[in-house]
């Protein structure tokens, strides 16, 4: 690998890191604003025009708050918990292809940090690591509400990972590869996987809600029952990290859903654009459209949050084990049969 390539990769990493942080920051603003609109209110509008400086004010508040570590908490693990949560949230974006390759002179710039051939497995590994942040944080707090919240989070994530994995298997039968770059390339122009895997997508979507602990599956932190869930004892920026990690997770899982099912950076007439407007412009348009799709998903996450009430815990487990897993398995079987019949 040349030095220039390494520098380009480094810049790309920094840009993606910055973008995910900014998007997470403004997701908090968007969440409050959208919540207000859904409830016929105005939402934050005091900090800056239309309140767009609100996330900065919130962040400043988080930093200036007193740092409290409970006496009986396990000091080291108490700090490891939120660090792990935000770390796992941030590294997920490494394998997502943000666009096709840009060609500038003799240089080819790959808009993906790492094109590993087991991209989906990597995503799954990172997602399942995320539960450690919650679990360690809840355990280290030495508080029964935190522990209950953490246990709920852990069992919920583990349950929904199974059906998430099964819904992906059906997709892998269609694509025949684990590399996210190849999956994205296969969905050229309008051949998006959602056409071939609508049931798989719905299953994946539901599991994504559960994995990111978003409403209606926000039981780990349901404030009405568990005080604050696993982050009851957290204050200051450590609490901020947990909340932030949730929003980054939402962004990353939106990106994964767009990549896997909604055609990633592909759009109809992309070949026409590449021929008439220049290949680089077509690539950049693809990147913009990818982000638009991601924002639509983030909007959908918030829309659902302000529509549906929280599940009861036994209903959550029922849905995960008795509904989603059988449907996912049936989806695999049907997909397999159809593929076999077509290829014969």
């Amino acid at each position: 690998m040349e030095l220039a390539d390494i520098i380009v990769k480094f810049i790309l990493v920094v840009i993606i890191f910055a973008i995910s942080l900014v998007i997470a920051m403004y997701s908090t603003y968007a969440e409050r604003k959208l919540a207000a609109f859904f409830q016929d209110r105005i939402g934050p509008n005091r900090a800056g025009p239309w309140g767009i400086l609100q996330p900065l004010a919130d962040g400043g508040k988080m930093f200036l708050k007193e740092e409290i570590i409970p006496t009986n908490a396990s000091g080291f693990l108490f700090i490891v918990g939120p660090s792990l949560a935000i770390l796992t949230a941030c590294i997920g974006s490494a394998v997502i292809p943000w666009g096709q390759k840009l060609v500038i002179g003799a240089h080819v710039i790959d808009l993906q940090v790492a094109d590993i051939n087991v991209g989906i497995l990597y995503i799954f590994g990172v997602v399942s690591l995320g539960v450690y942040g919650v679990m360690i944080g809840g355990w280290a707090s030495n508080n029964k509400y935190s522990l209950l919240g953490a246990i709920r989070a852990a069992s919920q994530n583990i349950s929904y990972e199974i059906s998430m994995g099964l819904s992906i298997i059906a997709l892998l039968l269609v694509t025949g590869t684990l590399s996210l770059r190849e999956i994205a390339e296969q969905q050229h122009s309008w051949h998006w996987n959602i056409i071939y895997q609508p049931v798989g997508f719905i299953l994946f979507l539901i599991c994504a809600f559960a994995e990111t602990n978003r409403s209606p599956f926000d039981l780990p932190e349901c404030e009405t029952e568990l005080v604050g869930g696993y982050h009851t004892e957290y204050s200051s920026m450590k609490l901020g990290f947990y909340l932030f990690a949730e929003y980054i997770n939402m962004f990353i899982s939106s990106a994964v859903m767009v990549t896997l099912y909604w055609g990633a950076y592909n759009y109809p007439f992309m070949d026409w654009m590449a021929a008439n407007a220049g290949p680089n412009i077509a690539v950049i348009l693809g990147v913009i459209l990818m982000f638009l799709k991601i924002f639509l998903f983030i909007f959908f996450f918030m829309w659902v949050r302000w529509t549906i009430p929280r599940f009861r815990y036994d209903q959550l487990m029922d849905l995960g084990w008795k509904t989603l897993i059988p449907w996912a398995i049936a989806n695999i079987v049907v997909t397999g049969i159809v593929i076999t019949l077509i290829n014969r």
Binding site: L34, A36, F37, F38, Q39, D40, R41, I42, N45, I202, W303, V304, W306, T307, I308
Partner: protein, 165 residues
């Protein structure tokens, strides 16, 4: 028995059909409802900048009135303090001196007139009791403050501005 209103509904516990159990149609319906609210005009009144119109008989902060010549109407008879169910009003009467005829309408006036706004319940009995039409609850909402003593409003805050200003 004949139903009083036609709102009575027979409750049934029949099991849910497949679509109802699938839960997704209900979710989509709910999403539609929230989306319809998304485009509705917000009901918020951004308070310090916008103010809601008070109704015509709104009772706000008291004001001690002056007559058409700018003289204070109050004659410190004490009927308002007597009628006050919250015992919020207190006053000290004084005799009008020669040369003060342009300030006070009657020979007796209130040298000190205090209303404790924390006690006041804004019932309006003082304005009904007043024989001189000197007190009316026609002001704004009483503003907030930090100390209890600052809620005892004296004549400096209650008396209307003089005419010639």
């Amino acid at each position: 028995m004949e139903p009083l209103s036609n709102k009575r509904k027979q409750v049934d516990n029949k099991p849910l059909n497949f679509l109802e159990r699938a839960y997704l149609p209900a979710i989509i319906k709910g999403l539609g409802i929230t989306m319809s609210h998304f485009f509705k005009k917000p009901v918020t009144i951004a308070y310090p900048e916008e103010k809601r119109e008070f109704s015509e008989n709104f009772r706000g902060m008291h004001s001690l009135k002056r007559d058409e010549n700018g003289k204070e109407r109050c004659t410190a008879c004490g009927l308002c303090a007597l009628s006050c169910p919250a015992e919020a009003i207190t006053m000290i009467a004084a005799e009008r001196q020669p040369g003060e005829e342009n300030l006070y309408r009657e020979e007796k006036y209130a040298a000190v007139y205090e209303i404790n706004m924390l006690r006041c319940i804004f019932c309006g009995l003082c304005e009904e009791a007043c024989p001189k039409e000197a007190i009316y609850l026609d002001g704004d909402i009483v503003p907030s403050d930090y100390l209890r003593k600052d809620f005892i409003y004296g004549k400096d805050k209650l008396v209307e501005a003089p005419l010639n200003q």
